[in-house]
């Protein structure tokens, strides 16, 4: 009886977890923020888990493009928008500060193009730009 109760509890927790991932309105926005953070910190292990399969080649180019610079997020905030045929639209504000050769060289505006997040294998992932 006790064993059944524990199993039931675990199943309940798992369902609740899945339901939260699926319904948390901030999950798409959080996935884009995590993608951007891994990108600028050059954390390839984490980065490789944060994009969808269809966006893999473009994502890897984005990652490699930071090879010659140091970068950090500045006031980056993302917001989940509407759901579309291609995925959930996410808009961000703030920028990526680029430091090259010890000097701030440039900043990339995060609000220039909305992002697309999709759910894949139960996780929200970056899947390109809208």
């Amino acid at each position: 009886m006790k064993r059944h109760l524990i199993l039931l509890l675990c199943a309940g927790l798992m369902i609740a977890g899945c339901a939260q991932t699926a319904t948390d309105p901030e999950a798409p926005a959080n996935s884009i923020e995590a993608y951007l953070e891994a990108l600028v910190s050059k954390d390839s292990e984490t980065f490789n888990t944060l994009f969808c399969a269809d966006y893999e080649s473009e994502a890897l180019i984005e990652f490699d493009s930071f090879g010659a610079v140091d970068a950090e997020l500045e006031d980056a905030t993302c917001t989940t928008g509407e759901s579309t045929d291609v995925g959930t639209i996410v808009t961000c504000t703030g920028s990526i500060k680029i430091v090259y050769d010890g000097e701030t060289n440039n900043s990339l505006d995060l609000s220039r193009t909305p992002y697309v997040a999709v759910q894949e294998d139960g996780e929200w992932k970056m899947c390109g730009y809208s």
Binding site: D64, S65, T113
Partner: protein, 347 residues
């Protein structure tokens, strides 16, 4: 009569021999300087100086000749100076045998192949501008330092290179134009990513290459990328460089690839990669690395990456000991050679 016939026949036999001798190139062997060495106009210690060569300068030896005795030897090497195109002599005791890698021996100024002519012709038919070129690159290609002086006659002197003025006029305004595919911190991947294009100028989704092509529609593009991730293989750089080259070839634009001055990666892997890509696609290679080997410190600052700076007065031998004027001069020579070569009919 028979004697005359034999003579005529003999002449016919001789003609191919003479022709073969005319076209025969000197057998090149390779050496490098072991210390500061003087390149002189003749193999004598009091002959006029052409230039000084710093240690570790790669020498393309055309012949060994007898000359003044120095260090118990009368042997001198005969070479052609890359910059002045003058034949000169260095005493052998200041040099040693050297086996260069294949990429090191590529000429500074490229020759144009039929492949490049075909790309160019296709591009002109597509509407590419025969009077425009573009630049793709990083900090060593920004217009404050690279090529822009040729749009401002007060900022350069050609000296013995007056013949290059035609090409300067041909590409007027391309020299100083700010390319959308050049910026500090760019690498071979950045120019393929829309993330790095200027949102005020480029259209959504365009990467810096696509943006630059749409805005300028050049017929020639000079590509020079100096950096890659420290712990990552040069093969990845080579793959991205191939993608850049394929983009331009697809649009009928002739790429000129450039070797780089530094060897921060330690094994010249990136220069070897650039050479491989140029060879694979049969496109022009500007061997900038070779052009600065004779300069003090091999043309590099103390950080062994940045180029030594002087203004672009090619008639001033002191300034020509710094790498920025040599970079600009040899880039101009490369563009000139490629442009002139592209005007020739495909064989």
């Amino acid at each position: 009569m028979l004697k005359k016939l034999i003579m005529v026949f003999g002449l016919f036999l001789l003609i191919p021999l003479v022709q073969a001798q005319d076209t025969q190139q000197p057998q090149i062997t390779y050496r490098q300087t072991t210390q500061l060495a003087n390149l002189r106009e003749c193999p004598e210690t009091d002959c006029p100086l052409i230039r000084e060569y710093w240690a570790n300068t790669l020498l393309f030896v055309e012949a060994m000749v007898e000359g003044d005795e120095y260090n118990d030897s009368t042997d001198w090497v005969q070479i052609t100076d890359f910059l002045t195109r003058k034949t000169g002599y260095i005493h052998t005791s200041l040099t040693e045998e050297f086996e260069p890698e294949e990429w090191m021996t590529a000429p500074v100024v490229p020759q144009v192949t039929d492949t490049a002519r075909e790309i160019y012709q296709r591009g002109i038919e597509l509407g590419n501008r025969h009077d425009r070129f573009s630049k793709v690159g990083d900090c060593q290609n920004v217009s404050s330092h690279f090529l822009s002086v040729f749009d401002d006659p007060a900022e350069y002197a050609l000296g013995d290179y007056e013949n290059l003025f035609t090409t300067i006029s041909q590409f007027e305004e391309s020299w100083s134009r700010d390319s959308q595919s050049v910026d500090n911190g760019f690498n071979v991947a950045s120019v393929l990513s829309p993330l790095w294009s200027d949102p005020d100028i480029c259209e959504p989704g365009e990467n810096p290459l696509e943006c630059e092509y749409r805005l300028n529609q050049p017929s020639i593009v000079i590509v020079s990328m100096e950096t890659w991730w420290a712990q990552r293989p040069a093969e990845e750089y080579e793959d991205y460089m191939s993608q850049i080259v394929e983009f331009w070839i697809d649009h009928g634009v002739v790429p000129i690839l450039s070797t780089k001055a530094d060897n921060l990666e330690g094994d010249f892997g990136l220069n070897r990669a650039v050479y491989n890509v140029a060879k694979k696609y049969d496109i022009p290679l500007w061997n900038f690395w070779l052009s600065i080997q004779s300069l003090p410190g091999n043309g590099l600052s103390e950080d062994e990456f940045h180029l030594t700076f002087a203004r672009n007065f090619f008639d001033d031998p002191v300034r020509m000991q710094y790498s920025w004027p040599v970079r600009n001069l040899t880039a101009l020579q490369a563009i000139d050679a490629v442009y002139q070569g592209l005007q020739e009919t495909t064989s």
